[in-house]
Structures are given as structure tokens and as C-alpha cells.
């Protein structure tokens, strides 16, 4: 017999996932409401210029952002209240996520890949960045066949690059390697 907590039949206990989700939803709702309040108090006044000659409130550039932020804040509080006082329902959206054993390493790799696509294409060209990131992701994905790894890591980015530059005529950022391939 496994350990179970006795609960009277008229007050059924919530599944553990629901309880976890409720706490997460309380935090989510309160954080959303707080973010909306900060947005309305500081971001909108600072980053939306309202001209002096606005005739009616709905014509103001800040009108809709204020209304939306207010509604978001309100719904954040509703979400928190639902989680605190109502009965949660186990949801599928946020569940079924089972982090890998080395997920911090994978997260770091993804961050590096994203950063590479942010910083490098205009410096070294899109193609070398695509080849490098493809190889890294294949390795991280578990590809151990060196020949296949090299083939896929080179062929796929080159084919995509050729399609975008030669067929779709997209001027992708170029580095020394692209100039060599193009010639």
C-alpha cells in the first residue's frame, strides 16, 4: 500500500498537479497585474508622446494602450483570484514538460545559437553561422555519425542559402566565405 493522505469523500483533494498549477497561477496572475501597473505608470507616459491638440480621449495615441494595460492587469488579478479561491483544472498546455537531465547545458547551447544569429551574420556572413550552428545543434541533438554530421551541417545550410540568394533573390549578409562560394 502506498502512502496516501486521507480526505473525506465530500471534499475531494485536488490532484498534486492542480495544486502546483494553482500556486503557479497565483504567481502568474499577481506578476501580470504588477507588470501592467508598472507599464501604465512608467512605460506608457515615458514612451508614448501625446500631442496637446487631442480632441477626444479615444483619439489619443495613449488611449488604447492604457485601456489594454488596465484590462491585462484586471485579468491578471482575476487569474490569481481563480487560482486562490476557485478549483483549478489540470491543464495540458503547461504540463507534460519533462526537462532533460542536462537541460541547463542545452539551454546554454540554445542561448549561444540565438546569440550567434544575433551578432555574427553581419560580421562573418550568414552561411558560416548557419553551418556552425547546424553542426552544434546536430551534435546536441545526439548525432554521432561524423560523416552524416558533416554532410548535413554543410549541405543543408548551403542549399537553403542558395535558394534564398539565387531563387528568392534575398541579399543575405555576406562574409568572405559567401563571396568565395558565389564566385
Amino acid at each position: 500500500m502506498t502512502d496516501t493522505v486521507h480526505t473525506p469523500p465530500d471534499t475531494p483533494a485536488l490532484p498534486a498537479a492542480v495544486a502546483r498549477r494553482s500556486m503557479r497561477d497565483v504567481a502568474f496572475g499577481l506578476l501580470t497585474a504588477a507588470a501592467a501597473a508598472l507599464f501604465a505608470a512608467f512605460v506608457i507616459p515615458a514612451f508614448i508622446s501625446v500631442p496637446g491638440n487631442v480632441k477626444a480621449a479615444p483619439l489619443s495615441p495613449a488611449f488604447l494602450p492604457y485601456v489594454l494595460t488596465g484590462l491585462i492587469g484586471l485579468l491578471g488579478l482575476v487569474c490569481a483570484a481563480q487560482a486562490m479561491f476557485g478549483r483549478g483544472v489540470p491543464k495540458e498546455d503547461g504540463e507534460g514538460f519533462d526537462p532533460a537531465r542536462h537541460w541547463p547545458l542545452s539551454a546554454l547551447l540554445l542561448a549561444a545559437v540565438f546569440a550567434a544569429f544575433w551578432w555574427l551574420p553581419e560580421r562573418v556572413g550568414m552561411l558560416p553561422v548557419a553551418v556552425g550552428t547546424m553542426a552544434a545543434m546536430l551534435l546536441a541533438g545526439g548525432e554521432r555519425n561524423v560523416l552524416r554530421l558533416v554532410l548535413v551541417a554543410v549541405a543543408v545550410p548551403v542549399l537553403i542559402w542558395l535558394f534564398f540568394t539565387k531563387v528568392a533573390m534575398v541579399p543575405l549578409p555576406e562574409g568572405p566565405l559567401e563571396a568565395l562560394v558565389a564566385s
Binding site: L64, L68, K91, W103, P121, A168, V170, L172, P173
Partner: protein, 507 residues
């Protein structure tokens, strides 16, 4: 009239026209299936090629690309969860779950059937009802548009997933994001944070790709399961009972597409989501939507393809382009020395009939090309995921860059990818954010234009069309909220019963 019809058919039945339609549909399907490259882009790129072609051939080439592009968007939406076009975003909701459980062929086939049927219905509406629909569409002013958009926004309720509150927050965030950029009335900066890249607003293609495709990439690397996972072999096809069950959904979606397509400026994305929402609302099992329901694919695809022919109604009948693609087609007409509008039905009626014939043939060609494309594209599902996922990321990066040829869009795409991943983790659906983002500018623009016209709130109840959409909005809100609350209550009861049963079995 018979003379005009025979003259039109004579103008149409040339080998050149058939080749133009075939080439157009093939180009459209290919371009549409690549994330970031839209049907609009393909039509714009093909425009210079029409200069040297006869008017009917040139315009049919563009129409073929447009129709092919709209269907092509569904291929990548189903196979890799990266919608090729914004209109295909809704198809990911059920198409991708079907592909993940080894039913990619079935999902693609249903997308094709729904697309072709909707296309035919849309063409028939264009041929027989163009004048009538155009006259109704002409009565739409800013307040009428405002209520139409308000009604369309109520579909957020149906696509909110498991939490209505979070879905509404997601939709509102989408509308808020759409306000970024230069203010349309006063020209002042709104939430641009002094970044000149944001002055034109956030690009919807990078947002779309990031929100739908990138969370899948992130999840693959952070999730325990999934590595080196082979996809299930796919020999599934749409059965006759499945098709028969989906047919009412397809017809309803087509009519929604026709209705929204004939009103300038609404677009295929809103039509697909509205069709999806209505299909879910009408279903006896709404809980299956979003989990690989074949009717969800049928609804989304019939909605967006229903727009394809109907969007030409305001163009041909009134000379008003319904969306960006028809604006490009209007350019093609003008380059050929033709001006679409009522006069064209008098002066160039043979050309109009030739175009109608060409559009019907284009639907048949779409079916043939689509079947060929499905057979070959479906093999993408067989690629091991550890190879497919990096390929998806590359397509996302290259496609996002291609929109405006700037790295900023890649950064935006990656940022929305991370946001999409976080949203999925907190149980917040990303589809409402997209629909809010797309409809937001139309909503605000028409709200403010109404005020500019009248400076009085009474303008919002000025016509029977306003009242019709007010009633439709209220009814939609009531029915949607009631149904969502009922299903939430049911799910809660089931969860509690399940927990009790679990306890009983362990004691």
C-alpha cells in the same frame, strides 16, 4: 451575353494560359510552404514577368501564385509547425498535433480538400454574387468595420486553449504589441523605445514564425524525450466518413471566407481563425480541437482559401483592392492599361469571363499540384527530428531575415520564440496573441477614424450593419463564455473523479 461568354472562353483557351496557371500554382505552393516567404512576396516578385504577357495570361499567373501560396502555407504549418503564411497559423493548431501522431498525410490531404472546395465556392461567389456582395461591402464605413473587427476578436474565446483568462490576456497583449510604431493619426512614436527599427511596428512574419515554430525548437533541446525519435510512418489518408463529417465545416468555413474576403482589409488570417472558432463552437466535442482534430484543419483551411476568390470581388466590381495581393494584381491590371471597376464589366466583359474561367481551372490545377506536393512534402515528416529541428531553425532565421532584409527581424523572431516557449509553460495559448496582433491595428484604426468622422459615440450605432455586428458580438461573447465555463466545469469534475479513482486504487 452568350457572345461575351464565348469570346471570354476563346480568350482563355490557349496553351499559354494553362501553362501560366500551372506554373503559378506550383510557384505559389513552393514559396508558400517556406516560412517567411509569403504569397504576397511571390506575387510581387512575379509582377515584372507579367509585363510582356497578354493581360489574361499575366493576371492568371498571379492568381495561380496567390491560390497556390495560400494552400502552400499549410504544408509547413502541418509538418514543422512553422506556418508558411500568416493565414496558415490557425492550421498549426490541429495540423501539427496530427503530424506528431503520425497523421501528416491525412492532415495535408484534408487541408488540400478543404482548400480546393473553398476555392471553388469562393470562385462561384465571385462569378455569381460579385455585384451584390460588392454593394453591401461598399456600405462599410469605419464604425461598421469597427464592429466587424470587434466580432472577429470574440474568436479569442474559442482559441484560448485551457484557460480563458490567460487566453484573453494573450489576446490583449497581442493588441498592445500591435500599437508599437508610429501613431497613424498624429505621427508620434508609440513604445518604440527610440529604436528606429520599431518605428514601422513589429513585423508580423517574424512574430508569427517565432511564436509558433521556435518553441518547438527550444522544447526539443530542453525536453528529456524526443531526441533521435523517429517519426511514425505515415500511410494515413482521409477516409470517406471523415470527409463527410468535415464537409459542413468546410462549407461553413468557405462562406465565412467569402464574407470576410469580400470586405476589403480583413484578410485570410482572420477568416481562418473565425472559421476555426465557429467549427469548434458547433462541434459536439469541442475539447478535441487543438489536439489534432481533423475538422480543425478543415475549418482553418476552408476559411483562408474562401478568401482567395472573394478578395477579388471588391477589386473587379469596385476597383478596390481587398488586401496586399489584390493591390499587386490591381497594379498588373493597370500596367496592361485596364482599370478594374464597374466600367470593366461594360468595356472588357470578355476579359472578365476569361478570368472567371481561368480561376475555376486554377482550382482544379491546385488540386492536382497539391496532391503531387503532398506526396513529396509529406516525406519531410520522416526526417529524424534531431536533423529536422535545426533545419526548421535555419528556415526560420533565413525567412525572417527575408521579410525586410534586416537582422532586427531575426532578433524579433527569436525573442518571440522565447516568449512563445514561456507562454506554453505557463499554460497561455499563443494563437490569441497572434489574432490580437493582426486585428489590433484594424480595431484601433477604425475606432479612431469613427471618432474623427463624427466626434460622437453615437456614430457606432448609426446603421443596421452596426446593429447586426453588435448583436453578433454580444451573442458570440455570451455563447462562447457559457460554453467555455461549461467545459471548464466538466473538466474539473472529471479531474476530481479521476483523482478519487486514483486514490481508491492506491488504498
Amino acid at each position: 451575353m452568350m457572345d461575351a461568354i464565348s469570346a471570354g472562353l476563346g480568350l482563355f483557351f490557349t496553351l499559354q494560359n494553362f501553362l501560366a496557371i500551372g506554373a503559378g500554382v506550383m510557384i505559389g505552393v513552393t514559396i508558400g510552404s517556406i516560412p517567411g516567404l509569403t504569397a504576397t512576396m511571390a506575387v510581387a516578385l512575379a509582377l515584372p514577368f507579367t509585363f510582356s504577357l497578354p493581360p489574361v495570361t499575366g493576371i492568371l499567373l498571379l492568381v495561380g501564385i496567390y491560390k497556390g501560396g495560400i494552400f502552400g502555407g499549410s504544408i509547413s504549418a502541418i509538418l514543422i509547425r512553422a506556418p508558411g503564411t500568416p493565414a496558415a497559423a490557425c492550421t498549426t493548431l490541429d495540423g501539427y498535433p496530427m503530424a506528431r501522431r503520425g497523421e501528416a498525410g491525412k492532415a495535408l490531404e484534408m487541408a488540400l480538400y478543404a482548400s480546393c472546395i473553398a476555392d471553388v465556392i469562393s470562385n462561384l461567389a465571385l462569378i455569381f454574387l460579385a455585384g451584390m456582395i460588392a454593394s453591401i461591402a461598399l456600405q462599410f464605413g469605419a464604425p461598421e468595420y469597427f464592429w466587424l473587427i470587434a466580432f472577429s476578436l470574440t474568436i479569442v474565446i474559442s482559441i484560448s486553449g485551457s484557460s480563458l483568462t490567460k487566453g484573453l490576456i494573450s489576446g490583449l497583449v497581442g493588441v498592445l504589441l500591435s500599437t508599437v510604431g508610429l501613431d497613424l493619426v498624429y505621427g508620434t512614436q508609440r513604445l518604440t523605445f527610440d529604436n528606429f527599427n520599431l518605428m514601422g511596428g513589429i513585423g508580423y512574419i517574424p512574430l508569427l514564425i517565432g511564436l509558433f515554430a521556435i518553441p518547438e525548437v527550444i522544447e526539443f533541446y530542453l525536453q528529456r524525450t524526443g531526441h533521435l525519435e523517429a517519426n511514425k510512418s505515415d500511410r494515413t489518408r482521409v477516409s470517406w466518413p471523415e470527409f463527410r463529417r468535415s464537409l459542413p465545416t468546410i462549407v461553413r468555413g468557405s462562406l465565412i471566407g467569402v464574407a470576410l474576403g469580400s470586405v476589403p482589409g480583413i484578410g485570410a488570417t482572420a477568416a481562418s481563425f473565425l472559421s476555426y472558432g465557429e467549427a469548434r463552437r458547433a462541434s459536439k466535442h469541442p475539447e478535441t480541437f487543438g489536439r489534432g482534430e481533423i475538422q480543425g484543419v478543415a475549418a482553418a483551411e476552408s476559411g483562408n482559401n474562401g478568401v482567395a476568390g472573394a478578395t477579388l470581388i471588391p477589386l473587379l466590381a469596385l476597383g478596390i483592392p481587398g488586401d496586399v495581393v489584390t493591390a499587386v494584381i490591381l497594379g498588373a491590371f493597370m500596367l496592361q492599361g485596364l482599370t478594374p471597376g464597374p466600367l470593366m464589366f461594360q468595356d472588357n466583359i470578355d476579359l472578365i469571363y476569361a478570368l472567371f474561367a481561368g480561376m475555376i481551372v486554377a482550382s482544379v490545377v491546385l488540386f492536382v499540384v497539391g496532391r503531387f506536393a503532398i506526396r513529396h512534402f509529406a516525406r519531410i515528416a520522416d526526417i529524424p527530428r534531431h536533423i529536422l529541428i535545426p533545419m526548421v531553425l535555419l528556415f526560420c532565421v533565413f525567412g525572417s531575415y527575408a521579410v525586410q532584409n534586416q537582422m532586427f527581424d531575426v532578433v524579433v523572431m527569436l525573442a518571440f520564440g522565447v516568449l512563445g516557449f514561456v507562454m506554453a509553460r505557463v499554460g497561455m495559448a499563443s494563437a490569441p496573441l497572434l489574432i490580437g496582433f493582426i486585428l489590433g491595428p484594424l480595431f484601433e484604426d477604425n475606432l479612431r477614424r469613427s471618432y474623427l468622422i463624427a466626434n460622437d459615440a453615437a456614430v457606432f450605432i448609426r446603421s443596421p450593419i452596426c446593429w447586426f455586428f453588435i448583436a453578433a458580438t454580444v451573442l458570440s461573447l455570451y455563447v462562447g463564455l457559457r460554453k467555455e465555463m461549461q467545459s471548464a466545469r466538466l473538466a474539473r469534475q472529471l479531474a476530481e473523479k479521476g483523482q478519487l479513482a486514483e486514490k481508491g486504487s492506491t488504498v
